[in-house]
């Protein structure tokens, strides 16, 4: 392609090697440090452990309540993902299959919420949740449901946008045929559109999960000691006891592997969704 000159092949190989190094060096440090004994990470940096050990992976669970953080993060992320999917699928179905007043306005408004600085609605949201608790007794500050409700709206705009793109690519005749057969609109959505858009829905689910799993700002205000998530527990641990860097790296790996694996497995669908959404 491009009829590129012969020498460019070497430029390209060298360039790609540099990029690979940029990505790999921090990952290398993360992985090898997690396999180092404590004395290695307290001394001068070295590329390889003096002695390979798995004990950091054992110790992390007792040095901090990592298990509890992990479960909290899992509950919050799964809850936010499932609810966000329900809400996003239903909204995307309305936008892609119906022509109604306010359709464009809604699509634009929901996307524009993406540009708000989180800090802008963090303070008011905190106050609103405090006041909801006072008037109705539903406690949303310091509880997991509060985080679930908040997080599911974070992934919503992008999820709706991507799903509209997916749904548009499904021939309308398919669900119209189902409607003629006597299934209601809900039946058409669940039996025809959702199965046909399954790859897109899975990609959106991964995205929603990643969003909730990695969020820091709101978790720092909306969690209490017993509902602390990984996003707060881990950094707090690393700043307080920076000496246990081998454990910090091990914990970082443990919490990253599920999301990174999920993302990399499904990146193809995410890219597709990105382009199908952008083409419209």
């Amino acid at each position: 392609m491009f009829g590129e000159p012969h020498w460019f092949r070497w430029v390209r190989r060298a360039g790609l090697a540099v990029f690979a190094l940029i990505v790999l060096v921090p990952l290398w440090v993360m992985i090898t440090s997690a396999l180092k004994p404590l004395r290695d990470v307290q001394a001068q940096f070295r590329w390889l452990p003096t002695e390979w050990t798995l004990s950091p992976f054992v110790d992390i669970w007792s040095t901090i309540p990592l298990g509890r953080y992990f479960v909290n993060s899992l509950v919050v992320a799964l809850g936010a993902t499932l609810l966000s999917l329900l809400v996003a699928v239903s909204a995307a179905y309305a936008i892609s299959r119906y022509r109604f007043r306010g359709r464009r306005l809604f699509s634009l408004a929901i996307l524009s919420t993406q540009m708000f600085p989180g800090i802008l609605f963090l303070l008011p949201l905190f106050l609103i949740y405090v006041n909801i608790a006072q008037t109705t007794g539903i406690v949303l500050v310091g509880t997991l449901p509060g985080l679930v409700i908040t997080y599911l709206t974070f992934s919503l705009p992008f999820s709706v946008w991507m799903l509209v793109g997916y749904f548009e690519s499904i021939p309308r005749e398919l669900d119209e045929a189902a409607l003629v057969d006597g299934t209601g609109p809900l039946g058409a959505l669940l039996r025809v559109v959702v199965p046909a858009a399954l790859p897109g829905i899975v990609a959106v689910a991964v995205y929603a999960f990643m969003t909730a799993w990695g969020e820091v700002l709101f978790a720092s205000v909306l969690t209490s000691d017993s509902t602390r998530t990984l996003a707060i527990g881990l950094p707090a641990y690393s700043t307080q006891s920076g000496v246990y860097w081998n454990q910090v790296m091990a914990a970082g790996l443990v919490v990253s592997v599920p999301v990174v694996a999920g993302f990399l497995l499904l990146q193809r669908y995410l890219v597709q969704g990105l382009t199908s959404g952008a083409v419209k």
């Binding site: 360039g15 790609l16 990029f19 690979a20 307290q42 309305a94 119906y98 008011p124 006072q134 990695g214």
Partner: protein
């Protein structure tokens, strides 16, 4: 019956939208309006439980925030300048790195899929895990950065620099943000390049266009719509970035790397002055809307 069917048919799309609408109202729209209201109140910790009792403050929070000779306003202006420099460098750098990598990977045959996957790892890592790793790399006595610098004899054993304190901290937060952000530019530009039909390059090549001309005359113009969206998204993300400085420095960021999100956060939650914090947030939103609007308009007019 038919009548009822038609009416409910009309209401149906709104019914499907209702959950999304309610949630967006609760978590985004209502808080934004409340935030504007809060910025007009003298809302300190005494009124937190009963904020309707907070006295009306008019625009005084705004005058305090915008009085650049005062302590609060001066710090805000400084933080704004730091954030602007940070954003320009991260957006430009991420675009350049992302474009270069996407271009190089596209021409590579062997190992292309593997490289693409590898390059996306920094983006897929949870923000805090990636930033914590970097804060280890930047440790003065045990980190990789100083270790490598010492091996290259660029620093002596006694004068190892601090990276997370003082003037170097800006460079540190810049490097971390770049490392985390460029893969997104790479992802978007890769899918943008894939959407360009190959025959366009072949036609240009038949006309004698060199590789450089093909990139400048064919690829870049066709990537323009993609670039527009990408730059806006990168700009907003970077300007609002909270995770990178917060996890890298903890609650107290050094003055040289005092980015706005953390600055406002500290002003609000350490002093519990929510009125002032809200005023700063509203000013931030006004700036972001103006900047984004002007950019998009200038692109469209051309």
């Amino acid at each position: 019956m038919a009548e009822r069917g038609r009416v409910s048919g009309k209401a149906l799309p709104y019914l499907f939208l209702l959950p999304a609408l309610l949630l967006e109202l609760l978590v985004h729209v209502l808080p934004m309006l409340v935030g504007v209201g809060m910025s007009l109140l003298k809302l300190t910790q005494f009124f937190l439980r009963n904020w309707s009792a907070a006295p009306f403050a008019g625009l005084s929070n705004y005058t305090v925030a915008l009085d650049f000779n005062g302590a609060v306003g001066g710090a805000l202006l400084h933080s704004f300048a730091v954030t602007l420099a940070f954003t320009v460098l991260v957006v430009a750098g991420s675009w350049l790195l992302g474009f270069t990598a996407a271009f190089l990977v596209q021409g590579q045959r062997r190992g292309r899929g593997l490289l693409r996957t590898l390059f996306l790892v920094p983006y897929a890592l949870p923000a805090y895990a990636a930033v914590i790793t970097w804060s280890f790399l930047f440790q003065r006595d045990t980190g990789l950065v100083n270790g490598v610098l010492a091996d290259l004899h660029l620093v002596g054993a006694g004068d190892r620099p601090f990276w997370l304190l003082g003037g170097n901290s800006f460079l540190a937060v810049l490097v971390v943000a770049l490392w985390r952000t460029w893969p997104f530019a790479f992802l978007v530009l890769t899918s943008g390049m894939q959407a360009i039909p190959h025959d366009l390059y072949e036609a240009a090549a038949l006309d004698g266009a060199t590789m450089r001309q093909q990139v400048r005359r064919v690829m870049l113009p066709l990537l323009r719509p993609v670039n527009q969206v990408l730059l806006v998204v990168l700009f907003l993300w970077t300007f609002n970035d909270f995770n990178t400085p917060y996890v890298l420095f903890g609650a107290g960021a050094p003055a040289e790397a005092d980015l706005l999100s953390v600055h406002i956060y500290q002003n609000s939650f350490l002093t519990w002055n929510f009125g002032l914090g809200s005023a700063m947030s509203v000013l931030l939103l006004v700036f972001l809307s103006l900047a984004t609007g002007l950019y998009l308009r200038s692109r469209r007019v051309r």
